[in-house]
Symmetry: C2
Subunit: 346 residues, 2 copies
Amino acid sequence: MTDIIPVVLCGGSGTRLWPRSRKHKPKPFLPLVGDTTMFAATVLRCAPKDGFGHPVIVTGTAHLDHVEAQLPDRANTRILVEPVGRNTAAAIALAALLLPRDAIMLVCPSDHHIGDCDAFRSAAREAAGLADKGWLVSFGIAPTAPETGFGYLKQGDPIPGSSGRKVERFVEKPDLARAMEFLASGEYAWNGGIFAFKVGTFLDELAKHRPDILEAVRASVNKGRTDGLRFHPDADLFTQVPSQSVDYAVMELTEHAAMVPATMAWSDIGNWQALHEAQEIDEAGNATFGRVELLDSRNVLVMSDGPRVSVVGVSNLIVVVDGDEVLVCSPEGAQAVGKLTGAANQ
Amino acid sequence: MTDIIPVVLCGGSGTRLWPRSRKHKPKPFLPLVGDTTMFAATVLRCAPKDGFGHPVIVTGTAHLDHVEAQLPDRANTRILVEPVGRNTAAAIALAALLLPRDAIMLVCPSDHHIGDCDAFRSAAREAAGLADKGWLVSFGIAPTAPETGFGYLKQGDPIPGSSGRKVERFVEKPDLARAMEFLASGEYAWNGGIFAFKVGTFLDELAKHRPDILEAVRASVNKGRTDGLRFHPDADLFTQVPSQSVDYAVMELTEHAAMVPATMAWSDIGNWQALHEAQEIDEAGNATFGRVELLDSRNVLVMSDGPRVSVVGVSNLIVVVDGDEVLVCSPEGAQAVGKLTGAANQ
C-alpha cells in the first residue's frame, strides 16, 4: 500500500466560537486547545512517518496567509487554493484530481480537536487498509451524548479481517428524541467528518453520483496554474462548481460506505461549551486564559486577550473577551451564540 | 425655625462597586442610577426652597475637582475641604463649627439613592422639627430584608406631637440570625446614615462625649483659611483629629437620640446587586447600559463603557466593563467584589 496522503480541508468560518473566531481569523487558525492552532495541530497529527506522506492542504484565498504562516513544513506541502468555497465534495475532488489514482487520501477537517493522536493514526491506518480495498471509509466516533448537531452512522455488518463495518445508513442531524434512541441502541456512531478514500475509487463514485461536480472541478483544474507548491484552479470555472458536501454527494449514495471505530478523544469544538469540555480544567472545573481572577467560582471558562476579567461567585459560565467584544454565555446558551448580532454580522 | 442647612458629606471610596467606581472617581461622582451622579442628585434633592437653605459640602482635596464640576449651583455653595479624611464625626464637626449655633444641619451622605424625593424632604422637615427641640435625629429606614451590612435602630417611645420616636438602642451590623430577629420583631429600622441636628446641640454632645475630636477640629478651623466659598482647615492640625464615625462618637452615647421613619425608596447602593435592584428593569428583570445585546437572558445587569457585551442564556448575573477591567459576578458574589485584587489594589 502506498503512503496515506493527508488532505487537510481548511476553509469555512463558523459563528459559534465568536468573538474569538472571526471571519478574518476563523477557528482553524486559533490556538483553542493548548498552544497550537487547530490547523497546525491537524497537520502535526498527520506527520509524514509510519505510513503517512506529506500532506496536501485545500484552502481559500482568504486564508492562504494563515495557512502558510502556520504550516509546520511549508517546503514539502502542496497547497490547493480555492478562489471560492464550494463545500467538501469539490474540495476533495480538487485534491483527488491532482493525486495518483492509487494514492490513499485521508480527508481531515482542520478545526477538530483530537486528544489521542496515536489512536487517530492507528484508526487512519485501519481506514486506509479498507480504502485500499475499495471502501469509502468514515471515522465513527462512539457517541457520549444525544447530540443533535452531528450526523450519525448506523453500523452494518462487520468487514472480515478488519475492525471496520459497513455503514448501513447515514442519518443527518437528528432531533433530540431520535438522538436519544440512537445513543441507547448502541448501533450508531457520530460521523466524525474524517474520511479515507483511494483516489480512483472516490473519483469513480463521484463520476457515478455527481458527474456535474466532478466535471466542473476537472475543467477548473485543466485550466489551473501551478505556482511552486501552490496550485490555483481556474477561478471562473471553479466558481461554477455546484456546492455540495461529500456526505450528500457521495457517502450517502455509494454502495461501498464503511466506517472504522475511532476512540480518540475527539471533539468538533462546535461551540464554547464543547471547547470548555476539551480544555484541561482545575479541580473546581475552571479553565482560564489571559488575565483572569476567580473568586468562589466553579465550572467557568474565561478567556481574555487583554482586559483583566474578575469573576465572583459564578458557576457554569463562559466569558470571552476578544478585542472590542465581550461574550458571556451559559452552557445552554452556547449553541445560540451564532444568532447574536455580533456573530452574524462579523 | 431657621432653614435646614444640608451638609453633604462627600468623601471616602469604596471597593464594592469596582471597577465602575475607582479611587480617582468614586461612587458619589458616577451616574449610577439615571443620568445624574449620586453627588449631584444628593444636592438637587436638597434644593434651596420650602425650608431648605443652600448646602454646605464637606469633601477631600482629592475630590474637589469632581465636586466643583458637578455642583448644580457653585456660586451659592460653601465647600469645606478636608486635607485628609477623618470620618464622619470630624466632617460634621467641621461644618458645625462654621455654622450658627441655632442652625439645623441635615447631614446627608452623597452616595445613597433615594427614589422618592418628596418623602425625603418631608422626613427631613419632620427631623428638623425634632432637632430644633434638641433631639439628635436619625432617619430610620423600614427594613425589607435581614441585611447584615447596615446598622439598626431599635425604636423606643413615640415623641409626642411628631411621627418620631426615641432611639432605644443603636446596633452595629448584626449577624444574619440577629438581623432576621430584628426584621421579624418590627421594632427595628435601618440606620440610613442621614441625620438632623441643631448645630449647638451637636457641638455640646460632641464636647460631652468626644471633646478630643471637637477640640482638634476647632484648632484646625481656627488656623484655617477661606478662599472664596472654599474653606480649608489647617492641614497639619486636621490630620491630628481622631478618626471616628458620628455613630460611635455621638449617636450611640447621647441621651437625646431620636429617629424619624423615612419611607423613600432608599438604597445605599452598597454593592452591584443593590445597584441592580435600584435600576429600572424591563419585564425580564434586565437592565443594560452601553452597547449590550441580550439573548434568552433574565435578571441581568450589564454595563459597558465601550466594548459590546453579548449575553446568551444567562440568569441572575452582573457584568460590568469599565476601561481595562471586566467584572462578572452573581448576586451572591456582589458582597465579595471588594476582595478582588483589582478592587483592593486600585
